[in-house]
Symmetry: C2
Subunit: 230 residues, 2 copies
């Protein structure tokens, strides 16, 4: 696919990457709000207007960083999945959760970009939706493998309300996931709840509330696993 074209095109790719790298550095150091196109350009020894040859505006640069970040968390989750391929479902589950949390704690500003407040007036462009779903799919994979191995129990609680049926059927179709419907609904809920847990820690809401963070996270993740029947 990526045939080497002219030297011009190659230079363009390199400069684009350099811009993203420097932007990521500033993002990690100061946060999205402090990310300045002019500062990026300055650091790269170019004038600010030159940067607009590569990214039409600030939001597009941020979008590029967002996609990369989604891919980074997704990759972390998938790596945890692969590394624990032979383990018991609940161990795999917690491994994936831990991987996501570790990434979030290591990249708080990028985490905020993904799961904190969306950028003002910003509707997630098409390009972000696939990378954004990788973590969720990793969680689904754990449940699916467990189900295939007969190690998944039906989640407790009331039966699925009818209104949720069509959503859940769509999940099943999209994921080609051979999973019980209550489990699919539970996965969606637990997916978001995991980010509540992580977000509260990253954004400091557990400050002076929960101090034994590792133990608390593991304990809570085990509860999430139980919630989907793992």
């Amino acid at each position: 696919m990526s045939v080497i074209r002219g030297a011009r095109e190659r230079a363009r790719i390199e400069v684009t990457a350099a811009i993203k790298d420097e932007a990521r550095r500033q993002l990690a150091a100061e946060g999205a709000a402090q990310l300045s196109l002019r500062a990026v350009a300055r650091e790269l020894g170019m004038v600010s207007s030159a940067l607009y040859r590569y990214f039409p505006n600030r939001d597009e640069l941020l979008t590029a960083l967002i996609i990369d970040a989604y891919d980074a968390v997704g990759e972390a989750a998938e790596a945890a999945l692969a590394e624990t391929a032979d383990d018991a479902p609940d161990a795999r589950w917690i491994a994936v959760c831990r991987a996501v949390r570790a990434w979030a704690l290591a990249h708080p500003h990028e985490y905020a970009l993904l799961y904190g407040s969306p950028v003002p007036g910003y509707a997630a462009p098409q390009d972000t939706i696939a990378p954004a779903s990788r973590v969720g799919l990793a969680l689904v994979a754990v449940a699916r493998d467990a189900y295939a191995a007969g190690e998944l129990t039906a989640p407790a609680g009331e039966p699925l309300p009818d209104e949720l049926r069509t959503d859940v059927e769509r999940f099943a179709a999209q994921l080609a996931a051979d999973l019980p419907e209550p489990t699919l609904a539970g996965l969606a809920a637990v997916w978001s709840q995991l980010f509540g847990l992580i977000g509260f820690e990253v954004f400091g809401h557990f400050h002076r509330v929960v101090e034994a963070r590792d133990a608390f996270f593991d304990h809570s993740c085990a509860a999430l696993a139980r919630q989907v029947g793992l």
Copy 2:
């Protein structure tokens, strides 16, 4: 407490309130990043420098808005608590959760300010911690009343890890809450998970994933209730 002093002091209070109101309007309309001191001043017919007599900088204005917003969600949660004083614990639980969600959906930008990415380089000042805990305390109240009525079952799952003990003991002391230790740990987890659920909806992560939002939320909240033994 609020003795009426001079007319000057009264004017100051009124102008301060007007600034906050206008700032809140802009926050609701455009989001925190677009909130401009100059625009607020302009709208109020004063020059921007005059505004600095009331708020030393933008962050202080935001902090004031944050405190008000925490109080607003807290009040919504407490109102739901009061209105359902005679209901069953699980009904009260869901009522509180729904109240928080309703507030969040009605005030997405303020919600983002509270539970989204923290403002750059911003450490929550002392004044915010009490208002910030009101929602959590409302959830605790439901569990406490249920426990007093003997309607709380012990949460399922492994026993509390030792590392969590001191945190949980602190909860118990601070809350003067006569609750089993696993319940307290579960409450902390579920507290954050509730905001994962709500945050994903407010920030659009459920777009094209979960469409039957009301049913999904209720169903998921019931699972949260079960997680704390309600």
